[in-house]
């Protein structure tokens, strides 16, 4: 019953274009929308589980030493308290995305301030919260560990180093060059739903209702952390209140809930407090990035250098892949790149929306703007002149790449030709500037499975443990199935977020839609073939639409063909040769109009436009929303977002939504988005690529480049807060 498909060759048949239902690409409403707008979609900490009690986690107040709970017995005797648990299986930090095994564990020693080292469980939430706050955590024999990425010991990441040609020579001989260093601070994903888990055991079988992005991995991570077989673990996560990377890997609250529930023999709910989300989930690493560009008199690059330093905790291999798109976005035969990882004791660094490109492309795009200014070339024109014919390092062809079109079309849509000169336009107290930047993000296909059942009543059911974290999975999987099986959208049921269902790629790395979508497509193709067999025709000769089958000049109701039978197929997609044969990425361009206050240096984004090319668009409404979301992350990155670390012990000084400033409604103008029509045969049989992160991959640079255009000030230390802007004015 399993239909395997390996992506070894370009899918030039473009079968979706042959279908008749008209669902794929259409801007349909999310099917789960009515549940979400009425508060009836069930998120992790909302399941009503009989006998459930509440756990609140406790933080380490410093970053080293042995942890002692000095008044443990006293706290254990507080009213309602059931247990004070400090267990060696507690996670030191969350697992990285796709880790598939437990991260470093242990509750005896602290590695960073805020590490969750115990959980207090009580009958009521109020009792647990009071008890957790009453617990005195003492650290013995600790001296503060290094927390500063500038002075901490570094490890060179040799596998990311590149030395091609002679960059120094290219710079020496260049008509125009820049050599600039930018810094970006740590960022927090800050999903609106704090991480939460409800654990309940039935004998040796654990059910965890959690808020996670990648369930098949999370199940193995949880099983590994607890020392049980993965078959004993089920994770249910049908609705996830935002992830942005922070819920890729298993987080501390899940293990705490599972341990407590086992010990007490009762279901236990553990929800992280907002401060704990900031202190003990994931941060994007701060970066220091040096970019060197060498160009001829016409602005054609012949040298490109990008060197980055990022950081992480000891024992963590993840290093923010800053250089990812610098390898292929622009031409230039002389190239040098390097990466250093500083070891320090801030909270764990991991994936935050578009790890790598979010900050790497941003800084590259700032440097390109500096080069454009230096060379006296329009920034759009500079980029157009430097689109490489082939991958400038591997020599591979690109798959689909409407980069040039995005730049040109975006410029037209925005009105780029009206761009003022530097410090040229002023409206009252506001200095007005235009800025632009390119967008680029690698494209990836991952293993994914889905089961599709075509039922005798002419409905279909799609089942997979894929998640919908706001990305639109419920919408697009139903659209793909409906398109392939010729069923209206309301006759498709999509069931997600349960490890009892076939394992999917999960939501992350922008690969969710294409990977899980392809598994649905593959299953539906197998169903179509079976229908064709029944009718003794070729699959290509079937026309399926509105629950009817047309073939060889006949039309039948689907039910009459099925005759009471159900056809069930498991679609299983695996990446193949096309991943390596060509360079696959998504591209785009951002344009922003900013106003900078002449007296205060405050920047407001007045207008912002994005033109993007990401293969076939599966749902124009949800895809646009993803782009808007990414661009808004860019606004935050440009102007306000920064995790502030105390220089002494590395604690997060702004561990809440009042002080870590994500954009609010008034910070975001009515963003406009253009999705360019594209088919990428190399990416997937859907001809689709990922789009969930493309909107952030360079967006901040459009704004900071606009600030330069308005004021002549380059802020090379993100975010461009008013104090930094006014200093240069």
């Amino acid at each position: 019953m399993t239909e395997h498909f390996k992506m070894d060759a370009p899918a030039t048949d473009r079968r979706l274009d042959d279908m008749a239902q008209g669902l794929v690409g259409a801007p349909l409403d999310r099917p789960e929308g009515p549940l979400k707008v009425s508060g009836t979609a069930t998120y992790a900490n909302e399941w009503q589980v009989d006998g459930m009690v509440h756990g609140v986690m406790v933080r380490a107040p410093t970053n080293s030493g042995r942890i002692v709970l000095s008044n443990r017995d006293e706290v254990a005797n507080l009213p309602g308290v059931l247990s004070v648990i400090q267990d060696e299986r507690l996670l030191r930090n969350p697992a990285q995305g796709t880790a598939n095994q437990a991260p470093v564990q242990g509750a005896q020693h602290a590695a960073y301030v805020g590490q969750l080292i115990a959980v207090v469980v009580a009958e009521s939430f109020e009792q647990a919260r009071h008890a957790a706050q009453s617990l005195q955590v003492v650290l013995e024999n600790g001296e503060l560990m290094p927390v500063d990425p500038v002075t901490a010991a570094v490890e060179a990441q040799e596998d990311q180093a590149l030395d091609q040609g002679d960059l120094e020579g290219a710079i020496t001989g260049a008509a125009h060059s820049v050599d600039v260093t930018y810094t970006t601070p740590s960022h927090s994903s800050s999903p609106m739903e704090p991480h939460a888990s409800i654990a309940s055991w039935d004998g040796d079988d654990l059910t965890l209702r959690g808020s996670y992005q990648m369930l098949k991995y999370n199940r193995n991570e949880l099983a590994d952390a607890l020392g049980v077989h993965p078959d004993r673990v089920r994770i249910i996560s049908p609705y996830v209140g935002g992830g942005f990377g922070s819920k890729l890997g298993l987080a501390p609250e899940a293990v705490a809930a599972a341990i407590a529930a086992k010990e007490l023999g009762r279901p236990v709910s553990v929800a992280l407090q907002r401060q704990q989300v900031y202190e003990a989930t994931m941060r994007r690493s701060e970066t220091s990035q040096r970019v060197r560009l060498a160009a001829d008199a016409e602005g054609r690059l012949n040298g490109l250098g990008h060197d980055a330093r990022v950081s992480n905790l000891p024992g963590e291999t993840f290093a923010e892949p800053v250089l990812q798109a610098s390898h292929f976005l622009y031409a230039g035969e002389n190239r040098q790149m390097s990466m250093e990882l500083a070891r320090l004791h801030r909270l764990c660094a991991g994936s935050v929306r578009a790890p790598g490109e979010a900050v790497g492309v941003t800084v590259l795009e700032n440097a390109m703007d500096e080069l454009a200014h230096e060379a006296g070339i329009d920034p759009v024109e500079l980029r157009l002149r430097n689109i490489p014919e082939k991958d400038p390092e591997s020599g591979k062809e690109f798959s689909s790449r409407r980069f040039r079109d995005a730049l040109e079309s975006g410029a037209r849509a925005f009105g780029w030709s009206k761009r003022p000169g530097v410090m040229e336009r002023r409206e009252g107290e506001w200095l007005i500037g235009y800025g632009m930047a390119s967008a680029a993000r690698i494209n990836v296909l991952m293993d994914s499975q889905a089961r599709v059942a075509l039922q005798p009543d002419g409905r279909a059911r799609v089942e997979t443990d894929m998640t919908d974290i706001g990305t639109g999975t419920y919408a697009i999987l139903g659209q793909i199935a409906g398109e392939m099986l010729g069923l209206p959208r309301d006759r498709i049921d999509v069931v997600l977020g349960d490890t009892d269902l076939p394992p999917a790629a999960g939501s992350g790395g922008s690969w969710g839609a294409t990977s899980s979508g392809t598994s649905v497509y593959v299953a539906c193709q197998a169903i179509r073939r079976q229908l064709a067999e029944r009718l003794e025709v070729e699959e290509q000769d079937l026309l399926l639409k509105d629950g009817r089958v047309t073939y060889a000049n006949q039309t039948k109701a689907l039910g009459d063909v099925l005759q009471g039978d159900e056809i069930v197929k498991l679609g299983y997609v695996q990446p193949g040769d096309t991943s390596e044969a060509v360079r696959q990425a998504t591209f785009g361009a951002y344009f922003a109009e900013v106003a900078v206050h002449a007296a205060s240096g405050e920047t407001r984004v007045r207008r912002m436009h994005g033109s993007f090319a990401a293969g076939r668009i599966l749902n124009a409404k949800t895809a646009r929303s993803q782009c808007i979301g990414g661009m808004t992350f860019g606004i935050g990155m440009a102007l306000t977002e920064e995790l502030a670390f105390d220089p002494r012990d590395g604690h997060v000084a702004n561990h809440n939504l009042a002080e870590y400033h994500i954009p609010v409604n008034a910070d975001v103008p009515q963003l406009t988005v253009e999705l360019l029509e594209e088919r990428d045969d190399w990416a997937s049989p859907l001809q689709a690529k990922g789009i969930g992160e493309l909107g952030i991959c360079g967006a901040a640079a459009a704004i900071t480049n606009g600030i330069f255009n308005a004021t002549g000030v380059r802020v090379r230390d993100y975010p461009a807060t008013l104090d930094k802007v006014i200093t240069g004015m």
């Binding site: 409403d29 999310r30 789960e32 929308g33 009515p34 549940l35 979400k36 707008v37 009425s38 508060g39 009836t40 979609a41 069930t42 998120y43 900490n45 909302e46 009503q48 009521s124 939430f125 109020e126 009792q127 919260r129 994903s189 800050s190 999903p191 609106m192 739903e193 704090p194 609705y239 996830v240 209140g241 935002g242 942005f244 929800a271 407090q273 907002r274 974290i469 706001g470 990305t471 639109g472 409404k621 929303s625 993803q626 808007i628 979301g629 661009m631 808004t632 992350f633 809440n656 939504l657 009042a658 994500i662 954009p663 609010v664 409604n665 008034a666 975001v668 103008p669 009515q670 963003l671």
Partner: protein, 168 residues
């Protein structure tokens, strides 16, 4: 301690720990989990409900402070088969992605439209005595107490404008 609350038109008599916030009373004691906990500190707006017609952050107030008050939560605004104009507009304009901040956004917007109707000015209203227009600037300003990390803000503004135009 005993607290009487009129929630979505139904009288509820609750015996609560006095430390229980209105938010936790709804979520933990009444099963009304449509009201969300995003920060528990009045910073995000996910827990917005209406008390006696006015929008408040239910995490910042204790349930026992609301004896005999009328509370309207998202469940009282409309259910999937009977959505309010605003809820429908949030669906059609894609005024959400993950959906977690959405009940708070909708409770907030429902009360906000009443505030506008009643002539309450905002920080960006030019004429303090007149009726504010539902411009993008006005809606954005008045909705800035409700954070949305998916950043559906432009769509939220469109949804509110659409619903207001239909006389929500």
């Amino acid at each position: 301690m005993q607290t009487n609350l009129m929630i979505n038109g139904t009288q509820q008599q609750l015996e609560l720990d006095p430390r229980t916030t209105l938010l936790d009373a709804l979520r933990h004691h009444l099963g009304l989990t449509g009201t969300k906990k995003g920060c528990d500190h009045g910073q995000c707006g996910a827990c917005t409900v209406m008390v006696n017609g006015r929008r408040i952050n239910s995490c910042l107030t204790l349930a026992c402070m609301h004896d005999e008050d009328e509370v309207t939560t998202i469940e009282g605004i409309g259910q999937p088969d009977n959505l309010s104009a605003l809820q429908k507009a949030f669906v059609s304009e894609d005024g959400f992605q993950c959906g977690y901040c959405t009940p708070g956004q909708i409770c907030s917007a429902t009360a906000m439209l009443e505030e506008v109707k009643n002539g309450w000015p905002s920080h960006v209203t030019d004429d303090l005595d007149g009726q504010a227009d539902l411009s993008t600037e006005e809606i954005s300003e008045r909705m800035s107490g409700n954070l949305c990390r998916c950043s559906a803000y432009p769509n939220i503004v469109e949804a509110i404008r659409k619903a207001a135009g239909e006389g929500a």
